[in-house]
Symmetry: C2
Subunit: 164 residues, 2 copies
Amino acid sequence: MANRPRGDAPPAGAAFLLPQLGAHAADRFAERIAPLGLAPRHVGLLRWISHNSATTQRDVATAFGVRPSRIVVLLDELEELGLVRREVDPADRRNRAVRLTTQGRRALTRVGQAFLTHQNDLLSALTSSEQATLATLLARVAEQQGLSAGVHPAYRDDHASGHP
Amino acid sequence: MANRPRGDAPPAGAAFLLPQLGAHAADRFAERIAPLGLAPRHVGLLRWISHNSATTQRDVATAFGVRPSRIVVLLDELEELGLVRREVDPADRRNRAVRLTTQGRRALTRVGQAFLTHQNDLLSALTSSEQATLATLLARVAEQQGLSAGVHPAYRDDHASGHP
DNA sequence: TATTGTTATACTCTATAACTATA
DNA sequence: TATAGTTATAGAGTATAACAATA
């Protein structure tokens, strides 16, 4: 697929390679978890829920910096797969306590395995010490650019601040 | 925007950072060229046209591995901006010879400047020798993963092979 | 009949805003 | 009235397929 346009010396710097490789990595990972019925956008959410049992949807939305209605859709999909449960909070019936099901926990384990396989394959061109160097350099760039460490690009949102 | 979900030790390996930083880099570059009326998906096309004057749209589609109708839309946008011209080939009136206008050449220059600024900012956390190391490592990963050097992720397509 | 380019249609993902129910 | 969650609507971007013009 996609031959290289001939007759054009392409830039080979990191700034050009990053979007290319980033999209590639995301695609490969997506392929690996697709059989589980999951997409990358679900993974961060699953992880969050597994670590913050019974959070409210509002909390999730705030934590990821997205609108509540976005969370609704994602949770619908996860609930459809039986990986997540919404329970009305008896104390304040407006709140939903979101929890992982047993299936959800199992799915998260499989996602973790898929990620390790993916990682191995993606970086197989490099020795482990080179992989570490790469990770360090990327982490420094990420930090300087103000990227928060745990947030997957799938949760980008424009609403950022203020009024809905 | 998008706080880091608390209580969760995030993976910090290259495989996790790549999609995150790749998306970030793409977004930042997109912001820089947006004032020109351009998006990342236009850039590779502009560059191709500048190096292969009077190509046919079919050739472009083949080179980028996308369907011809995709090229139509992109060229419509570039023509709208006055950066590109389609000329009917008198020899075979089915073909359109695509050329950069003077404005198109100027735009491409500005895009190049924008890219340099972008690159400087994006990698400012690293020394130049570290930037070179990063580029080398990324290039090796890209090559092993079968990524062709000149193709921007904006041109990904699923049709890959065979029959339309 | 085969090929180039175009148009029309549909689908995915997400953002925005209106709405319901609780409080 | 204010807040949690939901539903409805709309928009961007792209894939797919039907189509017209030309060969």
